[in-house]
C-alpha cells in the first residue's frame, strides 16, 4: 500500500461539556501515518471524548485538530468509528449491514456487492451473510462491525473499547485479526481500551490520560516488531512493556 503523508495533529485541545469541568485540557500530540495509538486511563478521563473530537462528532472547546493537513470535519469521510457495542442495524442481515456506509454514499448495487463480498471473506463470515445480528455471537457481531468500518477504506480507524465486552480468548483472536487486517489496509488507528495487555499487543504507541490531568500524562513507544502474533505475548520484551505500562497507569490512577 502506498504511503500517504497523513497524520493527526492535536494542538492544545480542551473540552468541557456545557459549563462542566474540563474533561480534557491543553492536550497536544502528533501522530504519524500508520501508527497504532492506544488510549488508556481511568474511567472518566476523557478517552471516548477524545475519539469523538477526532471524529468531529463533537467540537473541541479550545484548540485545533488537523487531519491530513485539514480540519477534522473535512476528513470525516476518511475516518471510521467502531463503538463498544457492535451497533449493527438489527433489521438488516450481515451483508446489508456491511454495505450501509456504501449505500449512504450512494454507490451502485453492483459495486456494493463487490465490496461487501470481499469484506465478508476478509472477516471469514461468508457462511452467515444472510443472518440477522441477533443470530450472531458477540465476537461475530464485532467482526461485522469491523468489516462495516472498513467498507469505505478509511485512512483512520477510531475504536472505543471495541472488544471490551468479549471474553479473553475471543478478544485475543480479534486482536490478531485486527493486526493482520492492518498489514493489508495500512490505516492509522486510535484504540481505547481498559486492558494494558491488549494495548501493548496492538500498539506502536500507548498514551496514558488521567482524570483532571492536563495533556497526555505518559506517551510510551512500544518497540515490538510487526507483524505480531500469539507468540509475541510470550516474549519477555512484551511482558516487560506490559509491566511498565501497568506501573505508569497505577501512578496516574493514584494522583
Amino acid at each position: 500500500m502506498e504511503r500517504r503523508s497523513s497524520f493527526v495533529s492535536l494542538k492544545n485541545i480542551g473540552k468541557r461539556y456545557g459549563q462542566g469541568p474540563w474533561v480534557l485540557d491543553d492536550l497536544s500530540c502528533e501522530i504519524d501515518q500508520g501508527e497504532f495509538v492506544s488510549l488508556i486511563g481511568p474511567s472518566g478521563c476523557g478517552k471516548s471524548t477524545l475519539l469523538k473530537l477526532i471524529a468531529s462528532l463533537s467540537p473541541p472547546s479550545k484548540g485545533e485538530i488537523e487531519i491530513e493537513g485539514s480540519p477534522s470535519e473535512m476528513a470525516r469521510e476518511h475516518m471510521a468509528f467502531i463503538f463498544q457495542e457492535a451497533t449493527l442495524l438489527p433489521w438488516l442481515n450481515v451483508w446489508r449491514n456491511i454495505e450501509v456506509p456504501l449505500r449512504l454514499k450512494g454507490l451502485p448495487q453492483e459495486e456494493r456487492n463487490q465490496v461487501s463480498q470481499k469484506l465478508l471473506k476478509l472477516i471469514r463470515l461468508e457462511h452467515v451473510r444472510e443472518h440477522y445480528p441477533r443470530q450472531l455471537s458477540g465476537g461475530m457481531k464485532m467482526r461485522v462491525s469491523l468489516a462495516r468500518a472498513l467498507a469505505l477504506s478509511p485512512h483512520i480507524l477510531l475504536m472505543d473499547e471495541p472488544f471490551g465486552a468479549l471474553d479473553e480468548m475471543t478478544r485475543n483472536h480479534l486482536n490478531e485479526e485486527l493486526l493482520a487486517l492492518r498489514e493489508v489496509e495500512g490505516w492509522t488507528a486510535f484504540f481505547v481500551t481498559h486492558s494494558v495487555a491488549e494495548a501493548v499487543f496492538l500498539s506502536s504507541r500507548v498514551l496514558i490520560l488521567g482524570v483532571g490531568v492536563a495533556g497526555v500524562h505518559e506517551d510510551i513507544a512500544i518497540n515490538l516488531p510487526y507483524p505480531r502474533s500469539a507468540e509475541t505475548r510470550e516474549s519477555e520484551q512484551y511482558q516487560l512493556l506490559v509491566r511498565e505500562v501497568s506501573r505508569k497507569l497505577r501512578a496516574v490512577e493514584s494522583l
Binding site: E85, W91, R134
Partner: protein, 260 residues
C-alpha cells in the same frame, strides 16, 4: 403438552365460566330476561343476524376508515416531529395530553360538529387512534440509539437518509405498539360514537343497536351485540398482530425465535 396449554387450558376456563353461569341462573331461579343463558344469546343472535351483520359492517367500516387514516397521518406527523425539534417542542406535549381525552367527551363533541353521520363515527375512531400512534412512534423516532446516529453522521448521511434508513426502521416496533393500542381502541371508539350519533343515517352500527336493545329490554340481543363487538375488535387486533409478526419476526427480540 403444548396443545393442552395453548388450546386445552383456555377451553377449560371457558367451559367452566359458562357452566358457572348456567348453574347460578338455574340454581337461583334468576329471571331469564335479565340473565340470558348462552343458548338464548346464540338464538337471539341468529334471529337478529341480518341486523347484527349490517351493524357490524357499519361499525367496522367506521372504525377501519378512522383507524387507517390515523395510521397514515399519525406516521407522517411523527416523522415531522422527529425531523424538526421546534415542531416537536410545539406539539408533543399536546399529543401526550390529548391521549387522555375520554371517548365520552370526544364522541358528543364530534357529533356536535359532524352531525349524526358516518363521518362523525369515523372522526371519533380517528381521534382515538391517532394519539397512541403518534405518541409511540415519536418516542421510537427520537430515542434512536445515539451510537447509531453517530455512525450515520460518520458516513456523512443526510437528514433524509438518517430519518428514512435509521430512525423509521428503528421506530417500527414502537409504531406497531401504537397501532396495537389503537386497534383495540378504534372499534370501541366507533361503537361509542354510534351510541351518540344514533343510526348515523344508515342501518345503525353496533352502538346504535345496543341503545335499541337496551331500550326494549332485549338483554339476550344486547349480549349478542357484545359478542359481535368483541369479534370486531378481535379482527382489528389480529390484523395488526399479523402485520407485527410479518415485519418483525426476522430481527426483533420481541418475537421469540423457536430454536428448540
Amino acid at each position: 403438552m403444548s396443545f393442552y396449554r395453548k388450546i386445552g387450558l383456555p377451553l377449560i376456563t371457558g367451559l367452566f365460566l359458562i357452566g358457572a353461569w348456567y348453574g347460578f341462573v338455574l340454581w337461583t331461579n334468576a329471571p331469564s330476561w335479565k340473565f340470558p343463558l348462552l343458548h338464548e344469546v346464540l338464538m337471539a343472535g341468529y334471529r337478529e343476524r341480518t341486523v347484527l351483520f349490517e351493524g357490524a359492517l357499519e361499525t367496522l367500516s367506521g372504525a377501519f376508515f378512522g383507524f387507517s387514516s390515523a395510521v397514515g397521518l399519525g406516521f407522517c406527523f411523527s416523522v415531522m416531529m422527529a425531523a424538526s425539534v421546534s415542531f416537536r417542542r410545539a406539539f408533543y406535549p399536546y399529543v401526550l395530553a390529548l391521549q387522555m381525552i375520554p371517548v365520552i367527551v370526544l364522541a358528543p363533541v364530534c357529533v356536535l360538529y359532524f352531525g349524526t353521520s358516518v363521518l362523525s363515527v369515523t372522526a371519533i375512531a380517528f381521534l382515538i387512534s391517532f394519539f397512541p400512534i403518534v405518541a409511540n412512534t415519536t418516542q421510537g423516532l427520537i430515542s434512536t440509539d445515539q451510537n447509531l446516529v453517530d455512525l450515520f453522521k460518520m458516513c456523512n448521511a443526510s437528514r433524509i437518509q438518517e430519518v428514512a434508513l435509521l430512525r423509521v426502521p428503528y421506530a417500527l416496533p414502537h409504531f406497531l405498539t401504537g397501532m396495537r393500542i389503537s386497534a383495540t381502541l378504534a372499534p370501541i371508539g366507533a361503537i361509542a360514537g354510534e351510541f351518540y350519533a344514533g343510526s348515523a343515517g344508515g342501518a345503525g352500527g353496533l352502538g346504535f343497536l345496543a341503545i335499541v336493545y337496551n331500550a326494549r329490554s332485549q338483554v339476550a340481543e344486547l349480549y349478542a351485540t357484545g359478542f359481535i363487538a368483541c369479534f370486531c375488535g378481535f379482527i382489528f387486533v389480529s390484523v395488526v398482530l399479523v402485520l407485527n409478526w410479518w415485519l418483525l419476526h426476522k430481527w426483533h427480540d420481541s418475537i421469540e425465535r423457536k430454536d428448540l
